[in-house]
Every structure is written in C-alpha cells, then in structure tokens.
C-alpha cells in the first residue's frame, strides 16, 4: 500500500488480504529460508529434552511447554483480536480441576475427560465473554475477566466438597497409555505437553491465515470500522476468547497429572498477568513471540544465577525496557513488521 490510505481502505485491505509492503517482498524470500531453518530448529528444540538423560531437563521442558501453550493461546485473543483477557490462569486451573473432578467423580479416564472439560471451558468463556465483549474499547472485558479470574479462584478455595478447598486436590491418576506410548511417565508427560503446544501453535497459525483471523486483525485495528465492513465483531471476539480459553484448559488438564496436585493458587491474577507479560516481552501478535516470551520469563530465572529476588527484578527491568524501547517485543526485533498495538494514533 503506497501513498495516503484512509483508515477505511486500510481496514478493508486487512480484511481482504494480508498486509504486504512492497519492499519486503525480497525480505520475504529470505524469510522463507529462515522459516524452514526455524522449523528445523523448533523440531530440535522440542526433541532436545528427550535426548538428554536428565529427568530435570524433561521436567523443565514440560513446564516450559505448558507455559508456552498458555502464551500461544492468549496470543489468539490478545495478539490477534486485541482484547485484554486477564483470566487465562483461571482457565488453566479450571481445566485442571474440571478434568480431575470428572476423573474422580464420574469414573472417566484422562482422555475421556478432555472433551467435556473443553466444552465446559468454552461455555464458561462464552458466558463471560459475550456480555462483556459487547462493548468496544476492551476495558470492560479486561476488568471483568480480571474479576472473574479471581472469583473463580475464590470459588475453588471455598467449595470444599467439590474441589478440596484451599488445600487443593492430590491427584494420583495418569493418562492411560495410547498407541503403546506411556504418557504417564516423565517422558510421556513431556510428549503430551509438547504435543499440546504444537497443536496450539498449529491452531494459531491456521487462524492467522484464515479469513477468521483477518477479521480478528481488522477488529484489533478498529472495531467500529470492522463492524461497518460487515464483520460480526462481538461473535468474532467471543470466538477468539473461547478458543484461547479452551486451549488453556487443555493445558491445565495436562498440568494435573504432571504436578500431581492442583490448588486454587494456580489460578491467581498474578499468574494471569504473568502470561500477559510473557506475550509482551516476546512480541504480541507475532508467531514466535509467545515462545520467546515464555523462554525469557520462565527460563531466565533458571539461568540467572543472581541471588533470588533480584532475578525477578531483572525480569521486571527487561519488561520495562522491552515495552518502552522495543515495543514489538523480542520477536519483533527480527521479524517482519506486523501492524501492532490497538490504538496507535494515526
């Protein structure tokens, strides 16, 4: 797009085809090569924990994979649709609890508990999302999800009969072996978590490439204009939020047998906020941003041998610096210029 393009035209262009600048055509070819290399490296990255003998590395890998899934799924609603969803950790916990309760009270297996958990999570997200996403601007949605997340945590802490109350639930089940692979072992759990991560990345990618995804981007740019183009803004936003929340719930279902223990503490607002932080540092709206952000957020404290509390201070500094000086996140440092930020005055 060259020259002066009015807002309407720009939004329309976003809907009809991905934005492409003229000069970056050449860079794109280069990127394609790098894409392939990147895919290869991603594969290696995913396999690395399995090549290492150490259980610790496998555990760390599983942890990272689960956290990255949260970031990738949050990216769908925050990065693509531009909506601040601050209850992601609550859905994570919801998935863990729901799956555990289905197994305990309804005699289901790990695998058979996943579909009902997903349905419940979707229903919950729609129930919260629909009334609150009717409004433009996103503030209502942000605050309502924030309050809802905390509410869910308090409910989990108080319904002793169902959830075990504040002491949480000790889980002693493991996923039943499928196709001969024992998902209950440490390695198996890693496969599972990595699988969920890969699946979520594929879903995110598919969305990004689809008409649905382009509509989301248009909504992120300017809701009113998107509506005037015939997009059902609320339905799209709610759909994005539901998808993201269901993925988070699935990750939660894997968390259960991994740690062996679920407690209301995993649904705290500060954890939801951490996922947002991961996205921002990595680069909101980008493809690899969530992964990078997770690696930095979760991996950095492991790597930094600096005394305890100061690790988090350093992390905070990284966030501040990233937001102020590298607004497109670490991924954006190298990546293609993707239109960012909901309302940069233009």
């Amino acid at each position: 797009m060259t020259g002066k393009v009015d807002d309407l035209g720009r939004a329309a262009a976003v809907v009809r085809e991905p934005v492409r600048g003229g000069a970056s055509q050449k860079i794109l070819t280069l990127f394609s090569l790098v894409q392939f290399a990147g895919l290869l490296l991603l594969g290696l990255l995913l396999l690395a924990p399995l090549l290492y003998g150490s259980r610790y590395v496998v555990y760390l890998g599983t942890l990272l994979a689960l956290q990255a899934t949260l970031a990738v799924s949050l990216n769908i609603v925050m990065g693509y649709a531009g909506q601040f969803a601050l209850a992601h950790a609550a859905f994570y916990g919801f998935g863990a609890y729901a799956s555990a309760i289905f197994i305990r009270d309804y005699d289901m297996t790990f695998w058979s508990s996943l579909p009902p958990t997903a349905c419940l999570a979707a229903a919950l997200a729609a129930a919260v999302g629909y009334p609150s996403m009717r409004f433009t601007g996103g503030i209502h949605f942000a605050l309502i999800t924030f309050a809802f997340g905390e509410l869910l945590r308090l409910v989990a802490a108080n319904l002793h009969g169902l959830t075990g109350g504040p002491q949480g639930m000790q889980l002693s089940y493991a996923p039943v072996p499928v196709l001969g692979i024992d998902f209950g072992s440490a390695r198996g759990m890693y496969y599972l978590a990595a699988g969920v991560l890969a699946l979520s990345m594929i879903i995110a990618k598919l969305i990004r490439r689809s008409g649905f995804g382009r509509s989301l981007l248009a909504i992120r740019e300017d809701e009113v204009l998107a509506a005037s183009l015939g997009i059902d803004v609320t339905a799209h936003k709610v759909a994005a939020f539901s998808i993201a929340s269901v993925i988070a719930a699935m990750a939660g279902a894997v968390y259960g047998p991994f740690v062996g223990f679920v407690s209301p503490e995993m649904m705290s607002a500060s954890d939801s906020i951490s996922v947002v932080g991961m996205l921002i540092v990595g680069g909101i709206g980008t493809t690899s941003g969530p992964i990078i952000g997770t690696l930095v957020f979760v991996g950095l404290p492991e790597l930094l041998r600096v005394a305890k509390l100061y690790r988090l201070v350093v992390l905070g500094l990284i966030i501040v610096v990233t937001v102020l000086f590298v607004p497109k996140g670490l991924a954006g440092l190298f990546g293609r210029m993707i239109p960012t930020g909901p309302q940069r005055g233009r």
Binding site: L41, L42, L60, E265
Partner: protein
Amino acid sequence: MNRSKWIGAIGGLALGLAAGATAHAQTAGTIKLGLIGSLTGPHSGWDAPAAEGVQMAVSEINTAGGVAVAGKKYKIDVVQEDAQSKPDIAATATQKLLSDDDIHIVMGVLTSVPGVPVATQTAKAKVMYIGGFTALDGIVGTPGKELTFRALDTDQTVASGFVPTVVKELGIKKVGMLMPNDDISKTVIKAYEPLFKQQGVDVAMIEYFQPGTTDFAPVLRKFQSQGLDGLFIGYADPDAEAIVRQSLEIGNLPKKFVYRGGSGSPAVKYADKIDGFVWQILTRDLASPGDDKVKAWIERYKAFTKKDIVSNTYWALTFYDAVFMLGKAMDAAGTTTDQAAIAAKLKGMAYDGVRKMSFDANGRAVTDVDIGVIKDGKTYSIPEKIL
C-alpha cells in the same frame, strides 16, 4: 512469518541445558545435601529461616572439620533450589536436585502447596526428605514414604499436652475458633476440637476467614453475644495480633485467647488489656530464653545471618537441630550414601542438641514444647513434657 529469532531462543535454551546438566563430581569426603524452599514469593517468610538453619548448621559442622562417619570426616555441600512458592516450580526444582545422583537427602519447605510435590517426588525417587509442612502429616508413614520425615511436631502431639494446660491457665468453658480458610486449619481443628471437649470445654462456633484478611471486624462480630469466654485464633502472628487488637477495639468479645502459634508477640502490646493469652513455643522460647544453650544459639544465629530474631526464626532452630541429627544418623548407620540405612537410624533416634528432638518410627518429629502464657500482666512459660 519469521523464525530466525528462534536461533537466539535455542541458543539460550542450550546454554540452560548445559548449565543444568553439568555434573558435580563428588569428591571423596563430601556429602551433598539438597535444600529446597521458597526463597521468593509469599511463602518465603517461612522457608527462608529453615534454609538459614540448615546453612548455619552446615557451616558450623564444616568449620569443625565435618561430620564424623565411621571414623572419616565429611564436609557438607549444600545445593539449594528455589521453589518460588509455586507447586509446578517446586516440582521442577526438586527434579533438578534429584538429577544429581550424589544427593541422597533433601531438606526444606514449610508450606504445603509447594511442599506436596516435593515430598511425592523425592519419595518416588527413593531420596530421603525432611520437610516441615502440615500436609506431611498425611504423607509420612504411608506405604512408599519410608524415607520421608517431618521435622515439626504434629498438631496431635502438641495439642494433647497443650489443651489441658490452656484450660487450666485460662479457666475457659466455652470457646469460639477463628481460623484462616486453608488446609492447616482443618488439621488443627481436627486435632483440637475433640481435646477441648475432653476437657469439658464447649466449642460453640468455628468460623473461617479468607487468608490475607486484615479487617477482622465483620467476622469478629459473629462471635459477639454468644456467651463465649475464649477465642482460639489461628496460627499466624499478623492475623493473631490483628484479631487481638481489633477484638479489643470492637468490644463485647472474650479477652482470653488461645493461639496455635509460636510466639507471644501478638499479645505483648495488649498484655494489660487482656485476660490471658496462651501460645505454643514449638521449639524453645526464643523471645525470652531462659536456657543458656538457646541463648548461645541465638547469638550464633545473629552472627551468622546478620539478622534479628523474628517469630519464624524457630524454624531455623528446628532445622538446625535436624541437620545435626542427620549427621548422627549417618554415623550410626556407617554410611553417607545409603539413605535407607540412614533413615532407619533416624527413626526412633533421640537427640539432645539445643533442644531435645526425636523422630518416631513413622518419621514424625516428637519434641518437647514450651507453653507460653501472658496473664495478669505477667509473661511466663510452662514446659510441656512430651519426650
């Protein structure tokens, strides 16, 4: 769509893997001790002193040349990991310790939520574990957990001597219990309620407040006009102090308090306004030590940590003694690496260190406690002989 930045990411991960997988060679004459706890996050208030106690004991042992086992002396090398007050991080950190084959014993963690994964994983890996959190009560002594120990007395142990003393000192007949809504409270109530009944005291009401509450006025009002003459007030100092102060401010509430915590500091400022305050000194009285051994320990603690005594410091003392017990168990078993043998020797061992401490056949600690009383403006303590 660009993935070149993943090169950087992979580089970072590779570095991390390299760092994590570096094998520590165990030189002859060294014992590696795993230490885990929440050094950051809200649970650090409890775990940090426990870690300090371990570090202090190890430092003293090493300065004296090391632990004597079967005639040889071994220095102790502490490998510490941060659980960050979260269960999944605690699980991963435990795995990090477990990945080091030279670590046969892990200590630490005083809070249940990060603690449970630590206990289950060390047990699965057949590594000895000495922790402090309340949920350990339900874990220690069960099948598969022969190497798991709890360094703190169970509520049952303490309560059986505590309650009769309380009733005698305060002369209460009808109490209300006000506890935070968490797992520790459930255990406490299960232990104390029947004991009160046995002593002829009516536990008329039990109320839970949300953990983190600072404004107790509304919930305290529930206790008014119920004819209560005593209040059982939780286990955390800030909560207790707030409850005492606020109940005095609101008025129409009992002025006798029973506290399942380890310090009298919640009531010190109000000593002349209340009718009685009884608490459990789960180690020895650190606030007004009468014992020379305790006084000396306090001085060493201050010198080692450059910090002053706070109410959570008694966990430092608990784990301090536990480290020395461990050393003795190793000596008795004649090995520094066979955790099953060491565990077997630790069970049933009685130790006279800064305080008297022992472990029963299940791995539960049984130690003497003191009972502190503030009454009629006087502060004193009564020993509760358990051992």
